[in-house]
């Protein structure tokens, strides 16, 4: 068994309006950060996954993202895996 550190990012598809991102961008502008634009807010998750191999871990994480963590109707996701060295 190996241990992987997984990071998942999920965000709204570009066609879907992101009111929260919009509001935060506005707030940044009001506070003097005019240089910020195109701000969008999504979710960031990290978790650890026990798996026999990298490829198995990948398959499982992919499945979790697809089935549970994101809703493909309006969201897109990306993830990274990193093996954790045993201490």
């Amino acid at each position: 068994m190996k241990t992987y550190e997984v990071e998942v990012r999920i965000w709204l598809k570009p066609s879907v309006f992101d009111p929260q991102g919009h509001a935060v961008e506005q707030a940044l502008h009001t506070l003097g950060y005019a240089e910020a634009s195109d701000l969008r807010i999504g979710k960031y998750m990290h978790l650890t996954v026990q798996s026999a191999s990298l490829s198995e871990a990948q398959t499982r994480v992919e499945e979790m993202c697809e089935r549970v963590l994101s809703n493909p109707v309006m969201e897109t996701y990306a993830y990274t895996l990193k093996e954790v060295a045993l201490s």
Binding site: Q20, H22, A23, V24, Q26, A27, T30, L31
Partner: protein, 743 residues
């Protein structure tokens, strides 16, 4: 990290960091007969904190009347309980979460709601409503906007999710709260009068359980910090995140467990978590508790006994079950997917004894922890508020009117309460927008009435009279909707009790409140004290907040604050003694730049008669609406009636009164009612029998608000302009979508 030894705690005065003074530490040593170890010193520190022990206020709280035929449970339990007839009872309490909300407003407010919710279902009551009483600085200030926005979102975030409607409350804005907002939450629950449970650990050998969330390292020392001088910095490490989903499951599971009859005693883990719940439950029973801390479900590894005992992780309860019925609890909690662990048992030796890894890590007399906690008769100084007399000004009436209407304390609060689920449970008969809320009791034609009130300007100007007014106004709101007032709860938000003038405010305000409770027949059955509300040495204005509860038999008798529609000729009457003094008013604050003069007029005997009259009026269904005169005076009360019913009015200033004064006076004990001309005579006769002055001051008509003085037009304001000002005031501060202002 190694824990300090008992000798180090003494020599390096580490006990000070744990919240104990030198003298208090000495007392601990005497009571124990030895030096306390780190766990013990920590436990004494939190239990003897202001927050848990009420050491500065206890002596004064004794002045409150707490009994009456309706009272089933007075102060001292998790919540007070009153009888509402038909074998039913209502449990209710109010609590503050000021300091946590100043640091992390969303979570501070949310966990405040969660905490008061647990206090209610702990009594075996099904929670049916929340109310919230909020105080902030001025909305011109960016940080205040952020606090306001997040606190409101947090209250909704928790209350909406657990499915209890937030049906009323208040929000006021004053520079005095800039660095120290107030967040007081009240919860009301319903139970069968003979099915009440309490937080008592009786029956030697009965098992003790921790149920709900796991214990983590969050919130350690919240209780001590709430009483520390600069809570802001220190509490940064003590932020707790509420879990309303778990809170809802815990509520359902506990109510089911209580209904099973297996529960001997139950208490929520609020401030000082496992420490206060176990010590207080043992103390109420006059016995002891033994716990094995290895069995406490923890969220993080390596937690020490000190951390477990002082953690303020949310959504946990301590339960004592009847021996042999453990399986009932296991079955229920398993079904809800909740943690349940047997951590100890009830003893009869009067000691709180804790084991960890086979060793006794703490062993203290329960009496010393709870009953014998220090009580301070703190010095009280003579004190007069440093304020000017009210001086009459030349501010034009229409201008004053609009300024008051636009003041966020007066303006429409829809921006706030539309973020709360006000109608879940499908029982809200009157929600936000009326003087009191009415929540229907399922299965019978009966409703519980509830309202909160408290005006710090009055208390600051005259603590005793201000205290009277706080109670009078809250209770009046119940009578206005037609309910019979029963009892009150309260939250006393004051400054630093180590200052003799603050103790004067506290002592006098309590005295005034007590007098009003006596006069109005509404004893105090629960409450909460929050002291050290100060920023950099500057105290807030004293702010006692009152939550009042009443009952209405026959919801068809309810009286809304404005007629829904006006189809017949409708007159406006003022009930109560008319006045034209501007001392202590919001008007006075606007023209003088701060509180000025003395608190407004109040007369408790008149007030009591008015309340009786209002109930009779409702019972006889004489009026279409009733709305009490509060901040901003008759001008504002009238405007609110007109806006809500969409019609103008024509009114006449009282004979011989000063027009400014008559419009903007905040003298207490006055109610405007809308009555059809057909019922007006009957109303006048009824008022006379109660010896309450009543005068027809005008009628609902047209599309403007007209005020006349001896027949001559004094001022005329178009209704649509009033609506725009009233409804636009608070939202206008949020046009720039200031979701995330600076922290």
């Amino acid at each position: 990290m190694l824990e300090p030894t008992a000798a180090q705690i003494r020599d390096e005065k580490i006990y000070r960091k744990l919240g104990l003074t030198d003298a208090e530490y000495q007392q601990v040593v005497e009571k124990l007969g030895r030096l306390p170890n780190y766990v013990e010193a920590g436990i004494f520190g939190v239990l003897w904190s202001e927050h848990c022990s009420y050491k500065s206020s206890k002596a004064h709280l004794r002045k409150f009347p707490t009994t009456g035929p309706q009272v089933l449970q007075g102060p001292g339990e998790n919540a007070g309980v009153v009888d509402i007839g038909d074998g039913l009872a209502v449990a209710f309490k109010m609590e503050s979460h000021n300091h946590p909300s100043a640091v992390e407003p969303y979570q501070g407010a949310a966990t405040g709601v969660g905490g008061i919710l647990r206090d209610i279902f702990t009594m075996g009551a099904r929670p049916i409503a929340f109310l919230d009483s909020l105080r902030f600085g001025s909305l011109e200030d960016g940080r205040t906007r952020y606090l306001f926005e997040q606190v409101v979102a947090g209250i909704g975030g928790y209350g909406n999710c657990v499915g209890i409607p937030t049906v009323g409350g208040e929000v006021q804005f004053s520079p005095t709260y800039r660095g120290n907002p107030l967040v007081n939450a009240m919860c009301v629950g319903l139970l069968k009068r003979d099915e009440m449970v309490t937080g008592t650990a009786t029956g030697v050998g009965n098992p003790v359980f921790v149920v709900g969330a796991r214990t983590g390292r969050d919130g350690i020392h919240g209780a001590t910090f709430a009483s520390a001088e600069d809570p802001h910095e220190k509490e940064r490490s003590a932020v707790q995140v509420g879990d309303p989903f778990l809170g809802k499951l815990l509520m359902e599971a506990c109510l089911e467990l209580i209904a099973s009859g297996a529960v001997v005693g139950i208490q929520d883990m609020g401030a000082a978590g496992l420490t206060s719940s176990s010590a207080e439950m043992a103390s109420r029973a006059g016995g002891g508790i033994e716990m094995n801390l290895d069995d406490v479900p923890v969220r993080e590894s390596g937690m020490t006994p000190y951390e477990m005992m002082l953690s303020e992780s949310q959504e946990r309860m301590l339960v004592v079950l009847e021996r042999g019925r453990e399986e009932v609890a296991f079955e229920i909690f398993r079904r809800f997917g909740l943690e349940v662990a047997n951590v100890g048992r009830v003893t009869d030796d009067g000691r709180l004894r804790l084991f960890f890894r086979g060793e006794v890590v703490a062993d203290m007399p329960v009496a010393a922890l709870v009953d014998e906690a220090p009580v301070y008769e703190r010095p009280i100084a003579d004190w007069k508020p440093p304020v000017p007399q009210f001086v009459p000004t030349t501010l034009a009436i229409s201008e004053a009117w609009m300024q008051l209407l636009a003041h966020p304390s007066v303006a429409d609060k829809t921006w706030v309460h539309r973020q709360y689920d006000t109608s879940v449970r499908a029982s809200t008969v009157l929600g936000p927008g009326h003087d009191a809320a009415l929540v229907k009791v399922p299965g019978v034609n009966k409703a519980v009435a509830m309202a909160t009130d408290g005006n710090s300007r009055y208390v600051y100007l005259n603590p005793r009279r201000g205290g009277q007014i706080a109670v009078a106004e809250a209770v009046r709101n119940l009578a206005v909707v037609g309910a019979k007032p029963l009892a009150i709860t309260n939250c006393l938000n004051f400054g630093n009790p180590e200052k003799p003038e603050i103790m004067r405010q506290l002592s006098d305000a309590i005295e005034g409140m007590a007098e009003a409770c006596e006069a109005l027949g509404t004893p105090v059955v629960s409450g909460n004290v929050s002291l050290y509300n100060e920023t950099r040495g500057v105290d807030i204005q004293p702010t006692p907040v009152v939550g009042a509860i009443g009952v209405m038999d026959g919801i068809e008798h309810r009286v809304p604050s404005a007629p829904k529609s006006v189809l017949e000729p409708t007159e406006l009457w003022v009930l109560g003694r008319e006045d034209d003094s501007l001392s202590g008013t919001l008007y006075g604050e606007l023209v003088c730049g701060g509180p000025a003069g003395d608190a407004p007029y109040v007369n408790l005997a008149q007030e009591a008669r008015l309340h009786q009259l209002l109930q009779q009026v409702a019972g006889a269904r004489l009026v279409a609406a009733a709305h009490d005169v509060s901040e901003g005076g008759i001008a504002i009360t009238l405007t609110e009636i007109c806006i809500a019913s969409g019609i103008g009015a024509e009114v006449e200033v009282a004979d011989g009164a000063d027009a400014h004064g008559w419009l903007f006076s905040e003298a207490q004990g006055r109610v405007l009612v809308a009555v059809t001309s057909a019922n007006a005579d009957a109303l006048a006769r009824l008022a006379a029998t109660f010896n309450v002055p009543a005068r027809k001051m005008g009628e609902l008509t047209g599309e403007t608000l007209c005020v006349k003085l001896q027949g001559a037009l004094l001022v005329e304001l178009p209704l649509n302009e009033l609506v725009a000002t009233y409804e636009g005031a608070i939202p206008s501060f949020f046009v720039a979508e200031q979701l995330t202002a600076t922290h």
